[in-house]
Amino acid sequence: MACEEFPNNFDVVVLGTGLTETIAAAAFSRIGLKVLHLDRNDYYGGAYSNFNLDGIEDWRKANETRNSDCNEDEEIPDKVKDLLQNGETVISLNRDNKTAFNIQARFHVRERTAEEQAKADLKFNTFKFPSLNEQNPTSDISQEEEEKKEDAEQSESPATDSGVSSCTEKLNEMLSLTTTSDNTAEVCEIKDFSQPEPPKSDCEDSHAAQVENPPKHREWTVGDIKDDWRRYCLDISPKILYCCGDLVDLLIQSDVARYCEFRSVSRVLTVLNNLLLQIMNLALKNIKANYLDKPFIEFLKSKKLTPNIQHYIQHAIAMVTDSELSQVGLTKTKKFIQSLGRYGNNAFLFPLYGTGELPQAFSRLSAVFGGIYCLATTATHLIADSDRKCCGIITSKGQRISCRYVVAECSYLPPSLVLKLNKRMLSRAVYITDSSLLPTGDSELSLLHYVSPKDSERPVTVLELPSSACVCPKNTFIIHLTTISNHNDPSEDFNDVRETLFANEVLVQNKDTVKPKILWSIYFNQEDNSKVKLTEDAVTNVLVASGGGDPGVDLDWCVAEAKVIFHTVCPTEEFLPKPPNPEDIILVDDAEASTCQGTSEYLEKNKEEISEIQETVSTDSVQEAV
């Protein structure tokens, strides 16, 4: 499909489909600029991508062989030279890029036995119909098939697990009943980590509410997880959105919101004195209701809060380290509190299917307004005219494309053109687990800012996603961990949090434990490319977009970055104005235009366009016209 040549002329060529680039591309397309949007990968999102279990394995393999080095001094091929006009020069671009380093992925569970495999195969086959051949009468379905169908239906609800889940569900239902009454407490104590790995009896009498003791877990196998490979959505850069943040505002304003759905981050957790605690929403709701327009300290005083509250505010609400300036802490606290109440009593949202959906949603808006998209294609060279002004690109298919501006994600540009200001790496871990960090009957979506006693300057952001976020099958959880890298091996950066929050594989093998068991894990490092700028050597009319990899929880800075890019190119235009109502848009072709006075005037002005969009004042006038 990607064999046809592109048109030769665009207003803007965008390289990379990360969030900043896709927002910018949508904004350009929205005001009618011609946009060509390329990505060297065969998937959207760059550093913001999400993959299923097979996809992430492909991504891991691809990163092993990738090469980030750009040979800037390479000889310009003759076929590129042939495409140049008088006085033009070219700059080689990065064709390939490692998006992650030191990737390690593995299963933490055993393989299926031959017997289990045979059983699983059998179950799998009940879903399959024998392929009907053409001799079969088409209208009626045979008795045999009907029976098969029934079998399939029956085996559908317990899905891939062997009867354990129905028991689990019942237990969960009961548990959810017991937990609801706890919600009035300001903080609810769930787990005591100062206790040794709890033997069962110990656990039973330690706390009145037995909410934390999860039901007996099934024993997972590699096959169980692999069978559902396509139901996992694993983010490379898991992020959440402030309910009152710029990204949420932009999604609404641009109407991109209708392509996406979200879930609330329903719990904010913290670890204090070795206890994993839930910061109760109730308390925070009161802030919103009564103290929004009063100094924050008044609220703290009026509530006669313990010093622990300081901890909550610092680590769970503002999410700042000890060394962070108070200015930052106050701003973040304010943003958190402002975000409460807009979509329920929670400050954050998580996109269904993962953060990787967001760049695709903006790409779709750009495409809807005429942006041309092509994956697995990049620009090999920038073309600069005699004034060192960028005037086009050469694509990896050897086509010359003229354009006024190039917007490139930083990894597309050679080191001579771009400066990376944050010289650090992030460490990330993604776990598939068999239970929640803090199990309750509900499928909660939880955020935890984990501060290790050993290294308070490198907190770990923990994002726990349930199956209701559409990122994993039932009875599993995805837990994302992010911190600033301090070791050569990314898994070492999570030693402390792993020991504290997760079941120890060696000690509790096959035994029940309140802590989640890690079934599968991946660790990797990501370059922090969130702050970049062009060098003095850069040609003009090239704009750089950051490449992600920041340790923060949200994406609002991408909106700001895209806005700057957009206004550099179009200083006076509106940034992603609300699109016209679908009922108010009509597509016009020449035949219709000839019968329509208003439309033909419009066509006069836009003759060169392939398709015309007319925003009409009301649908009535369109009807008259047609």
Partner: protein
Amino acid sequence: MSTKKKADLKVIILGDYNVGKTSLICRYIDGTFRPKEPTVGAAFFLKQWGPHNVAVWDTAGDERYSGLSHFYCRGAGAAILAFDLNSSQTFESLWARFGSILEAANEDCLKVVVGTKMDLLDQTNRDITPEEGKKLARELNEHLDLKKMPHEPYFETSSLTNQNVDEVFQFIFQYCLPLSAEQKKKYGKGSVIDLIENSDEHKSTRRCC
């Protein structure tokens, strides 16, 4: 249009370039024929069907260069797989090109095979027989109970003459709606947040501080 905006069902359309996907949708949505190519400007429609809201997604823009993404298929309860009755290649594409991305649709997604441009078809010299079309439709839906359907999910249509167009959508809605209790649980919008719909009075209060 009702004030409730949230769609109960997402319907998507897939098919090769220029098989008439947008024409089919436009014919259904507003009853006109628009022989327009690259889909620009509108690619999302809300259709009310009884008490239900249906979101009909069209492919966006010029797909000659890029394939469709999983994103497009996410959460789809029904997919129209459109091919040009006059081009066997577009028929073969349905399985080859779109089989894998439909994995992102709901597990019980109804796939309806729809031949387009019936008006251009020379009935005596067909590349694709109705039997072949029905066979593919059966194969694509082997996870569903075909008995619940009045006939195979296969249609031959013309957006120019309006032949069989409404029938495609009626067939989908009758099969898919209302969502069963189980589906509601699974795909139900319970605690899912729609930014536009759920945004409320707090908009004004938050501005004051």
